[in-house]
Amino acid sequence: MTDIAIRVALAKGSFHLDVDLTVPASGLTAVFGPSGAGKTTLLRCIAGLESAARGLVRIGAAIWQDASTFVPPHRRAAGLVFQDTRLFAHLSVAANLDYGRRRIPADRPVPGRDDVIDLLGLGALLERRTSGLSGGEAQRVAIGRALLASPDFLLLDEPLAAVDAARKGEILPFVERLHRSAAIPMLLVSHDVEDVARLADRVVLLDAGRVRGQGAPTAMLATSAPDAAWAVTLPASVVPGGRTGTSLRVAARDVAVFLDPPGPSSALAVLPAAVRAVDGAAEGQALLTLDANGVRLLALVRQDVLERHGLGLGSIVHAVIHHATPA
């Protein structure tokens, strides 16, 4: 068995996590969803930190939890990197890195200390105290500390959330290198579409404690925007193959905006359009009103993406419709 099966149920007050997930035991799986979706709780369940969780956690042939077994966290080979890093304040960076490595059971391979230090660029930090580290440095030390404990499954909880946007460059390249060089399957939790698209081999959508979808990053992210309320009704003829005289309903979250015409894709239609209005939406998103040759479209995009690409009123774009339903 070379896959990872996770079926966990956990009630925390009014929140219910009920996840059923099978992913290949290789590459990077991103768990994407809005805050409060249960992403962190899912990672805690896998690592064994939620003793009230019920279900199955199987990593390849190793059963960490099932109906009759609950392997305690220190006997699971789960490398959980916490969002707040949780470096040990009483130990130096070097001692933090060695903490898990010194505790690897004799029958397991011990990762090369220097390899991990090189991979994550930690050489200059070794003698430092943890209190003086920047957010990006602390996050890298935390990742290194987890890797050096020889995990079978590396769990990264929002590794980019603790650092501001400008500092993401301090971590992203390292996570990518890790992804390319490590044979360890990784689960990365994020609420940031861009990070997920850049890093993941596959995406799992989590919302309100449940898996809403799973698949390739591009297909998943197109349907992931939290608000399904905004939608427009179009004449079906704008979509190639659409029957004249009928109508289609297109949700704003199913419309993506490209500056350059995208290449061949699985999209239903690509329409040149002009941005007619920009309205703020929840969770840092913006609702664009587009005019595609007289047809009105809505697109939900991230506010900071708009700013980065200088998109605004009057911009000419390519509206990509991923999904539509008969109206």
Partner: protein, 229 residues
Amino acid sequence: MIETFAAGGWSPLVLTLKLAAVTVVCLLALGTPLAWWLARTRWRGRVAIEAAVALPLVLPPTVIGFYLLILLGPNGAVGRAFALVSDQGLTFSFAGLVIASVVYSLPFVVQPIQNAFESVGRAPLEAAAVLRAGPWDRFVSVAVPLALRGFVTAAVMGFAHTLGEFGVVLMVGGNIPGETRVISIAIYDHVETLDYGYAHAMAAVLVALSFAILVLVYGINRRWARAAP
């Protein structure tokens, strides 16, 4: 001053320091698991235990001493149990004084350690758990070092508080030279017999010692506060 001590004897001071040291060792051994449990449990009844631990802060020493006298006496539960392993009684003995001091100084040791464990929280322990450290390993390698300031405060406060003990000792220990005659009792005695010279010297030693200890505590706290991230 040296002559005064020679006349009255060094023994009350030595005995007091010995009592305080033994008491602190017992309190750390007893108070650490109690403080850990109080800091971690979600059991509702914990407030009753916390209140019981704090009782010596508010009760007159004579009340504590009275109950200890009954408990440690030949007919008391602890006294009877002790009689099975020793032919000496607990009351009016050094061992009895240690037990009394442990009870009397308990809150001064348990509370700082409990506060320190609470401020460490669960987060670093969870981090240690996913780094392959078992429960005892996490406690020794993470919880205790991170709570070290609480342990130092607890040890010093427990020591200082035992130095100043009077009422409880008087109730359960009496005034046996070399066995239960601690410094505070010795001072009381010498004042009673109008021997102010000895009382002055001993009192000055106790003031100086207590002051030095408290300076140490506040100094440590200040240094730690600065070093904290």
